[in-house]
Structures are given as C-alpha cells and as structure tokens.
C-alpha cells in the first residue's frame, strides 16, 4: 500500500531524512518509532504530499506522491502532531467542511460524518465549539477528520502526545479498531504504544532506519542481551560472589527486593542460556531460591540500545577522551511488563 524507496529530505545543509526505505502492506499498522527530531514528521509530511522529497520516491496506493499528489491525497487521512482544527467552528461544521474538501459526495456526506463521529465517540460534543473542547476530544475530532471519507491509508503523527493515561488507552483502542479497514502508519516516541498497537515497527534515528521488524521479533533478536532476575534468601554478598562464578554470566547487578531477600539481575554473554546453571549453583550454595525470571528486553531498552549506539560512536570519534562506561539508563524492565 505504501512503498518508500530511498527517501531523502534536506533542509539546506541539514539532512532530516537520509535514504529511508520501507513498505507497508494493506491493512497493516506500522509503528514509526524514533526520538524527537529523528525525521518521523518529515517522512510523514512527504507521504502526505505536504513536503516534497529531495531524493527518492514514495508511492501510496500505487500513486507517486510527487507525480500525482491529488490522487494520493484522496486516499490519505492525516493528523499532524497538533490536530489542525478550526477552533471557531463546532465539531459538525468542521467535519462537514472537511468532508466537502475531501470530495465526499453530498448524498453520503451526512452518513459518513455520523459514522466518523460514532467511531471516534465524539457524539456528545458534536455541537460544541472546537475551541471549547479538551485536548483529548480535540485529538479525537482530529482523528474523525482523518478517517472521514474512508481513506485507504491513515497517517497519524504522535496521536497520543499530550493526552492523559485514560485518553491514551482509548485512543490506542480506537487506532487498533481502525486497523484492517485502513492501512495505518503511526509515529510515536513512546515505546509501549508500539508493542500495543502495531504489527510492525520501523525504528528510525537521525533520519535513518535502524531496525525494522515485528515488536516480538525485535525483542527476540535482542534477547541475548536480556537479563535473568534471581531472588534468593540469604546473604547478599555471598550470593553475588556465587553468581559471578556461574559460567556464562557476564555481569551481576544488585536489585532491590523485599526484606530478607537478595535480588540480582544477571546478564549472560550473548546467546547463552544460563538459567539451569544459575538455579543449580544457588541451590547447591545453600541458598533458598525463591525466584528465577527471564526479563526480556523491553522495546524501551531496544530503542535505547539501537539509537544510542550511533550517537555514542559519533560523540567519541572526534574526542580524545575515552567514553564513560555506558550505564544502563533504563529502569528495571519488569516495570514495563
């Protein structure tokens, strides 16, 4: 449905998007993940024909965004980061206007608008001025505007930014329910969002694609770098020494736990499964093993892992001083589960 080939966008000398390629199948929800300034918005703006690309091509539903922008625009629903709303219009009037410029035929206009209002659950504010709506409602009106007329492709730029947790959950549910019917590309810098809503993830940093996979696979690929949480009753320092001697264990880090329980997170050398050895060592050492748990790397960590490598390299190259030991900045991953 969407084919992006070698897309590049330069603003003067700064390169915002640097040779990005990816494809999105029909009905798929693709997560576009990256830190702020990674080039997500620029890529989306090119896809929606708002900006021209410097190099490369993008095709939506078979139409080139540069050659046939009108055909592309007819098939796309788009919400920019801040939903573009006329705050002095009421919701119905606004949707009516959008339906008109999207060329929704008069005979079905009313039913399409009602449809969008119902899907985005904004029926109770349909006669209110948009300027008087809360942020959450505005976001939903923006979404209603995007799905109006049933476009094949939905492009959502940070659809949950600035919402409260309840609204975020609702918006995610809504986006999920729209998948299948529409092909969706959504951008975010919030990781759990991707694993919750998207079938596939493209991670971009500094204008480049650094990884592309399903959320599960991405986690699996980096499983080797994941940890093992060990909890046992007994002396903390003794246990630490014991764990460090287990073959295949690369690093041991103390973790907080309930009183009387010593907890550690073990990092194995890549690809090695140390669970059996660890359990045996703990029991044989005379400790009561009370917990052994594989902690998969959360997307949050993958994200940091993937996007910080590049920056660290870049930062150390010109500097003569050795880089500081990279401390894992991510919180213990069980919190993300």
């Amino acid at each position: 449905m969407i084919e992006v080939t070698n897309l590049t966008k330069r603003y003067g000398r700064a390169t915002a998007v640097d040779g990005i390629s990816f494809t999105v199948q029909k009905g798929e929800i693709l997560g576009f993940l990256g830190p702020n300034g990674a080039g997500k918005t620029t890529t989306m703006r090119i896809l929606t024909c708002y900006l021209p690309a410097t190099e490369g091509t993008a095709r939506v539903a078979g139409y080139d965004v540069f050659e046939q922008p009108l055909e592309v625009k007819k098939r796309i629903g788009y919400i920019p980061e801040t939903p573009p709303l006329y705050i002095d219009m009421d919701v119905r009037t606004f949707l009516d206007f959008v339906a008109k410029i999207k060329g929704v035929p008069k005979s079905v206009r009313k039913s399409k608008i009602d449809d969008a209002i119902e899907k985005c659950r904004i029926g109770d504010v349909r006669d209110k001025l948009i300027g008087k709506l809360s942020k959450g409602y505005r976001q939903r009106v923006g979404l209603a505007q995007a799905i109006l007329g049933g476009p094949d492709v939905l492009i959502l730029d940070e659809p949950t930014a600035g919402l409260d947790p309840k609204q975020i959950i609702e918006t995610r549910e809504l986006i999920k329910s729209l998948g299948g019917e529409h092909t969706i590309v959504l951008s975010t810098h919030i990781l759990p969002e991707v694993s919750m809503t998207c079938g596939r993830v493209v991670i971009i940093a500094k204008g480049k694609v650094v990884a592309e996979d399903t959320p599960d696979n991405l986690m699996h690929r980096l499983r080797g770098a994941g940890g093992l949480r060990v909890e046992a009753r007994g002396d903390q320092t003794q246990l630490e020494g014991l764990l460090q001697r287990v073959p295949g264990v690369a690093r041991v880090a103390a973790r907080s736990a309930a009183a009387g329980i010593a907890a550690f997170e073990i990092e194995a050398t890549a690809g090695q499964d140390v669970r059996a050895e660890t359990a045996r060592a703990v029991v044989q050492g005379g400790f009561d093993l009370v917990g052994l748990q594989q902690v998969g790397m959360s997307l949050e960590e993958i994200f940091l892992h993937l996007t910080t490598v590049d920056t660290a390299d870049a930062a150390t190259a010109p500097a003569a001083t050795p880089p500081p030991e990279p401390e894992p900045a991510a919180p213990p991953s069980e919190e993300a589960q």
Binding site: Y11, T48, C49, Y50, L51, P52, L70, K73, K74, I76, Y78, P80, T82, P84, L85, Y86, I87, D88, M89, T93, F97, V98, K100, I101, K102, G103, Q145
Partner: protein, 263 residues
C-alpha cells in the same frame, strides 16, 4: 465541477469565520457608519450648492447640478479610501492564521489545489466586501425615494463597479501579503502600507506630470476609478484592475506553493 465545489467549500468556510466572529459585523458597521457620514456631508454640500445655484438661476444663470457628479461620485471616492483601511484587516488573517494554527496542513494535504484555496479565500473576502457595498448603497437608494429628480442609474452602477474593483485589488494584494507571514499583525501592516502606497501613486496623476510620474500614476489604484465613477467604462481601466487582481492571486498561489518547497 470538483474545483467549483472545492472553491465553494473554502468560500463557505471563510464566511463562517467572518460571520461566526465579530469581524464581519464590525466591518459592516464601520463601513455603514462611514458611508453614512460621507453621504450626509455630501448631501448637505450638494443642497447648499444647489440652493446657491437656484438663486443664481433666478437671476438668469447657472445650470442644474448633477447629483451623480456632485453627490455620489465624491462619496464613492471617499469610500475607496475607507476600503483601503478596512480591507487589509479582513485579508490579514486569510493565510497567516492558517499558518500559525497549523490548519494550512489540513488544506495542503486535502485533495484540493493551491489555486482553489487562493481563489476561495479571495472570493470569501470579496463577497463580504460586496455585502458591505450593498449595505452602503442603501444611502444612495434613498435618493430615488426622496429626490425630486433621481440620479442617473448608470453612473451609479459603474461607481459601484469601481468601488468593487478597487476593493478587489486591495483584497488580492492583502491576500498575497498574508501568505508571507504567520503573524497576522505583520500581514495587516504590510497590507495596509502597500495599499497606502498604491493609493498615493494616484496623486501623481497631474496634468503637469512627466513621463515617470505618469507611469507611477498609472499604477495608482484609485487613478483608474476616476472615469468609472463618472460613468465611463474604459476597457483600459477594467483591464488594469483585473490584471492587478490576477497578479496578486498569482503571487499568492506561487507563494503558498513555494513555501512548501522551502520549508
């Protein structure tokens, strides 16, 4: 067909904005008030002159004063200057506001061309201006009801046409200037300043003007309403106004399009 429908949608949106906010009412009220003032002055002046004339007549001289020439024409010319003040305030937000609030992104990613947006916005402002002219013309209509010998209607119509074309030129220019910035005040000041400049150009329209002054005077927006407000339709004047408006719209479209390339 689609293009007409899109333009109509933009016009309707602009109307909703103008009439959904105090803008349209304030503009129409101020216009009506000033039209009334100038008309009132003109009527008083005309009556005094007529009285003087009729006294001369009794002594055997003096022609009958033309209402078109001495009453309606000065009012139209004054109102062209009022338009110079009011219209930049109607046009300053047309693009600047859309750019500031980000709604330009909605328009730009909808299946609608830049030309349709520009023309829709132009017609939206122009049609509001037409309403203003119509409201003002109530004053003139009173003459038909109460004057002993009503004015000729043809020069009145060409006067209205002149007012419309002058206003259209200001709107087209203001529309273009509004595409240059996301700040409404900047757009407004630019629009007002440029309108003033093109108005001042007509001051060079003197019998003693040299070649350069004639060129400058030719560019003056109100220079070309002289003949029209007398009831003379000169193709040259109409062409001037239409090309002025067309050029403004062209620049606006180019500006909207190019900003995406530069962004």
């Amino acid at each position: 067909m689609t293009s007409l429908r899109n333009i109509a949608a933009i016009v309707e949106k602009e109307w909703r904005h103008y009439f959904g906010s105090p803008i349209a009412y304030v503009a129409i009220c101020m216009w009506a008030l000033l039209f009334g003032f100038f008309f009132n002055f003109a009527v008083e002046f005309f009556l005094r002159q007529s009285l003087a004339m009729s006294q001369q007549m009794e002594m055997g001289g003096g022609p009958k004063l033309s209402m078109n020439e001495y009453l309606i024409r000065p009012v139209m010319q004054n109102m062209a200057v009022v338009a110079l003040f009011i219209l930049p305030m109607l046009t300053m937000r047309l693009f600047a506001e859309e750019k500031r609030t980000g709604t330009i992104e909605l328009l730009a990613t909808s299946p609608i061309t830049d030309w349709q947006i520009v023309i829709g916005k132009f017609l939206g402002a122009l049609s509001l201006y037409m309403v203003m002219i119509l409201v003002g013309m109530i004053n003139v209509a009173v003459l038909w009801r109460f004057a002993s010998s009503p004015p000729e209607w043809k020069p009145v119509l060409t006067g209205v046409l002149a007012l419309l074309l002058v206003g259209g030129s200001f709107i087209s220019m203001g529309l273009f200037l509004s595409t240059l910035t996301r700040n409404q005040i900047v757009a407004g000041v630019l629009g007002f300043g440029m309108a003033l400049v093109f108005w001042i150009f007509s001051w060079f329209d003197q019998p003693t003007a040299d070649a350069w002054q004639k060129v400058v005077a030719y560019l003056g927006i109100t220079t070309h309403m002289e003949e029209l407000s007398k009831g003379v339709i000169d193709v040259k004047d109409i062409v001037f106004y239409l090309s002025f408006i067309g050029f403004g719209l062209f620049l606006a479209e180019q500006s909207v399009e190019s900003q995406r390339w530069r962004a």
